[in-house]
Symmetry: C2
Subunit: 639 residues, 2 copies
């Protein structure tokens, strides 16, 4: 590359969208992809070791670093890793379908209804209807020579006749305009009041009656961001509408630790915030447009998410989440004006974050405890949220302990050759028949594209019970023609290539990743149970939440040794408890106070420094476990 | 005036300062005076009827409206009313000395020490030392792998170990920088916390120890603005330094009703705010420079003042203070960030206003009740604050009633021919000897320039007891050569003209004004005493505060029938209780809460609509009163 080339601008046309990027010669292709906002899978954040960011160069000059992550066939087809390729001329680049497939709508209609069911259940936990933000239509008696009460105090009196608000706070701008509004409305005004940790803020005051009042509950996932639109004037906890999108930070790494590193190395904290705030705003605008709601009528947003994601959203310093002493800047984030964080709702509307416990136990987990009601139960319960990390909570109404294992995103489809998200074409269900033949079902019953979380769980369990892998996860069917040697060692063909789709395989590395994930979760469970002297038979209930959500076969989770071997009727899916918790809080101040009490009462176990965790992890790195006596029912299913 | 002239610029040079103003031809001279910021007396705000804004035209062309308010001698000396004169060319204008004399330092050293004594007394009311703003140097244990508490919660814990703060609030910007500051200071930081109505705000957090913490207590008077600089790190209630200035709104009218009218007619609410905020800032800067204090180390300002003045300061709508139903926009003003109102202290410092009761009973009166401790007394007490209005409070620990009479500013020297403020040259003491000769004393023992409040009180009482005026205030000494006919009727020469000073007279109109003022106050007292069935002998104490302050002879206040005829030892001067109250509150959160309780418990009597007030006023318009049995001791002093 000459100096002359360096200054040259290159125009890249991306197919099939036709989007164009103009970049200086020498630009890394992945950065050009980011520039136009196209989604391309990237687990490692551009370090060249995950091999996910494959794109096809149709024409143009480029320079690619050698990599072992492309097969000879792929190289033949002009495929490159975008993160290892420099642009040297005008180019045309095709983004393979599988990238865009993953960005499709993650929530099908049945997902949405699942969330509705969950919300109804949360509403049944008995919190009184007392939304965080209320619009009160106040019809006051105007002042007279017999009633000299000042406007400000008159309004406070009227508010206190309607709601319990011992401490009311009013910003200066509202105070200044208040008299004018009261007179304009002939003392019939709408006061928008918001709850802020023991106080009530007079957020807005308008002449006349303005009833419409909406809020948004948001699950800030590392992978997906889900938003539910709620009507705050109704006690009904059903969402008016729901929407979800991929977390667009994903271009900077699939797990949040990698994103923190990226942000540090590129001083990209603002960029990280802009991405997640942009995602949230897109969801809000989509919901508002679809429901024909004025953004000014959305007065609150409640967010639940892991600690890193909350830090990114508010641009708090997240760097010590990944470094000793592994702490958060803030676990209990006070309500702020949403506009201060760039969130586009009513310009004086409030943004609430559910409280978190520690760097690795975020507000999404507190939401889970709130939603499942563990903190009210006499019997001991287990709650496990399996995502990029595997967070585990054990406890009852008297005590709560929690821990987080760095499970890795294997069950979210990352770090697995044909892993993908729960989108159309994903294998969500897989069975190995006694004759070793394989049956599968894809989401949308379309041609198979990859395997999503529940499919991976099935795969691991069925390969094990079907005697295709042994207890250590090694392939045992030496004679099977489906077992071949690939670039990453041995791999097993689950689906042969067909008309218009490639073969789907699972590699030894994939299986090792999956076992590591489940071992991490189970070791965390063991540490907490040991510390509290809880035996499996003491468990009244096991609640499972997480990435696979709906599609998970709980029996398989026991089969592979991820969950303790308790009677299946004790295990329950609880779906997206983060959003259910956010919604519960939005509709009840008491629920928010309860979440704060829960977060304070949860004792955090740091597994990294725990003396027995590593040992437990190693013992759990078998199928189902080194100690088979822990899994009596699994022994019986083993053929 | 031709169109050509209209566009011409005229340069006016003002003597003796030499300041210059460039204004378009046709500009009202008083506006040009305002433009350069020179003080010229003006009671009516430029309507041409008070006759105070006399200036001398040395040369140049002008056009003056005819007026009866200038004597032929004054016209001969090229004197004009600045508000009735248009500038038509370059000019030289001399501002007579008496204007600038009034703007001199109102507080002599003895005044300052008087305030110190008062503050000490307030400190003795038993409020615990608990300043509204505190700087806490917190030495925290840094986080470790054994202590995962987040920075935000770690700081809250440390704050709560030091002070009682159940609800702490933190703004978004502080939250964002908090982790950086904690790390920079190795978890040794200074937290500045402020009390905001039941909550505690984390105002600032800085690495290391920053002890300096000052605040300013301000008495926002209609006429004068007084500021005391307080060291918040010390329990000592003495002011570090004090400063006072004239309220520069005075150019728009001497009483606040006239200023509200001016602001409405000229849409000059912003200008009114700028003036008063400018005055406050000048005081603060003067104190800070003199004491070598960084403005950033002044973290709070507490203001007491009448309701109109508080509204002007914050630019709240004051218009209904003067119009039915005579209400305030806000009586209990929540703390705001001082910078929001333009007050130049620490940019995140807080501005507090003491609570007021009604449009005509402001926070200065609540401060008086707090300072005198009436609200704690078993016996019934009377508190009267004589200024532009005469506010009266009657009560004890069980009940408090209050009223405001529009006494007029006569005892502040306004509306009186030779009335002036308590500045150098003012007659502050006057005696009529049995031979009808007059002895007087001026402030600073200089040549007499006019008569201030205490001198006016003496004059009225001594003319009465000296048989120069009768019980109706009419002159009786027909043969006295000192009694002449002036432009406003009869006038009495108190001081003959001397070398370098003009004669000092008191006119029949002056005496009528003074009697109206005292009658208003006494009628208010009577209404409250009647309503509560309080007899003069039931009064345990009478507290007097107000414009004449220090110089007042309480005996004379009884002689003229302004205060009820109680034993003199029961009557006490309490000086500037507004500033004493502001200081007390600044140093004790409990005192602010008490002030709020006091304001809430005070029952306001609207005299305008009261059935007996007019009657009482007419009966009190005699010296000392129509009903002499109310003033047994006065009968006996009458010669």
């Amino acid at each position: 590359m000459t100096d002359k080339n360096k200054d040259r601008k290159c125009v890249i046309r991306f197919e099939p969208t036709g989007l164009k990027a103009e970049v200086p010669s020498g630009t890394i292709l992945l950065n050009a992809v980011h520039k136009v906002g196209i989604y391309v899978s990237s687990i490692c954040g551009g370090d060249g070791y995950c091999g996910k960011c494959k794109v096809i160069i149709d024409d143009g000059q480029f320079q690619s670093r050698p990599t072992t992550l492309l097969t000879p066939d792929e190289v033949q087809a002009n495929m490159v890793l975008a993160c290892q390729t420099r642009v040297l001329s005008d180019m045309t680049v095709t983004i393979p379908k599988w990238h865009s497939l993953e960005t499709g709508q993650i929530l099908t209609d049945s997902d949405a209804s699942r969330f509705r069911e969950l919300a109804a259940e949360a509403g049944a936990t008995g919190f009184e209807f007392d939304p965080l933000i209320q619009k009160l239509f106040l019809e006051m008696t105007p002042p007279s020579v017999h009633d000299h009460t000042a406007d400000h105090e008159r309004l406070y009196l009227a508010i206190r006749q309607r709601i319990d608000a011992p401490i009311i706070q009013t910003g200066f701008r509202i105070l200044q305009k208040l008299s004018g509004v009261l007179q304009a409305g002939d003392y019939k005004v709408t006061a928008t009041v918001g709850r802020r940790g023991g106080t009530t803020e007079l957020i807005e005051v308008e002449a006349g009656n303005h009833e419409k009042n909406f809020a948004v509950a948001v699950d800030l996932g590392t992978t997906t961001v889900v938003a539910h639109l709620i009507d705050l004037t109704s006690e009904c906890t059903d969402a008016v509408d729901t929407e979800a999108t991929y977390n667009s930070q994903i271009n900077f790494g699939e797990d949040y630790i990698r994103r923190i590193i990226y942000a540090e190395e590129h001083n990209a904290f603002d960029q990280m915030q802009n991405r997640i705030v942009g995602d949230v705003n897109n969801l809000i605008v989509t919901l508002a447009v679809r429901q024909k709601i004025d953004l000014q009528d959305i007065t609150a947003i409640v967010c639940a998410g892991n600690t890193a994601m909350i830090h990114f959203l508010l641009n708090l310093d997240p760097t010590r989440i990944r470094r000793e002493p592994y702490i958060a800047s803030a676990g209990f984030v006070p309500p702020i004006r949403a506009a201060e964080a760039g969130v586009q709702i009513n310009k004086r509307g409030l943004l609430y974050c559910l409280p978190g416990v520690a760097a690795y136990i975020g507000s999404d987990i507190v939401a889970g405890v709130l939603t499942t009601g563990i903190y009210t139960k006499k019997g001991t319960c287990l709650f496990a949220d399996i995502g990029t990390n595997g967070e585990v909570v054990l406890g009852n109404r008297d005590w709560l302990v929690c821990a987080s294992s760095s499970a890795g995103p294997a069950f979210e489809g990352s770090g697995v050759r044909h892993g993908m998200r729960a989108a159309a074409g994903a294998i969500e269900k897989l069975t190995v028949h006694p004759d070793a033949s394989i049956e599968f079902k894809t989401i949308g019953d379309t041609q198979p594209v990859g395997i999503c979380g529940s499919g991976l769980l099935d795969t691991l369990a069925e390969l094990f019970t079907g005697n295709i892998i042994d207890r250590t996860g090694r392939f045992k069917l030496d004679g099977d023609r489906r077992l071949t040697e690939g670039d990453e060692g041995r791999q097993f063909q689950l689906v042969p290539p067909g008309d218009g789709f490639q073969e789907i395989v699972i590699t030894q590395a994939d299986i090792d990743n999956l076992i590591r994930s489940k071992a991490g979760v189970f070791a965390a469970i063991r540490v907490l149970m040991d510390a509290t002297q809880t035996k499996p038979e003491d468990l009244d209930a096991v609640y499972l939440a997480g990435g696979f959500g709906n599609f998970l076969n709980v029996k398989q989770a026991v089969t592979i040794g991820m969950l303790p071997d308790v009677p299946l009727e004790k295990i329950r899916f609880v779906g997206n408890t983060a959003i259910a918790g956010a919604k519960t809080v939005l509709l009840s101040r008491k629920a928010l106070e309860t979440a704060e009490r829960i977060a304070k009462s949860m004792t955090y176990f740091d597994l990294m420094s725990h003396p027995t965790y590593m040992d437990e992890f190693i013992k759990a790195s078998f199928l189902p476990h080194t100690d088979l006596s822990l899994f009596p029912t699994v022994k019986s299913v083993k053929r």
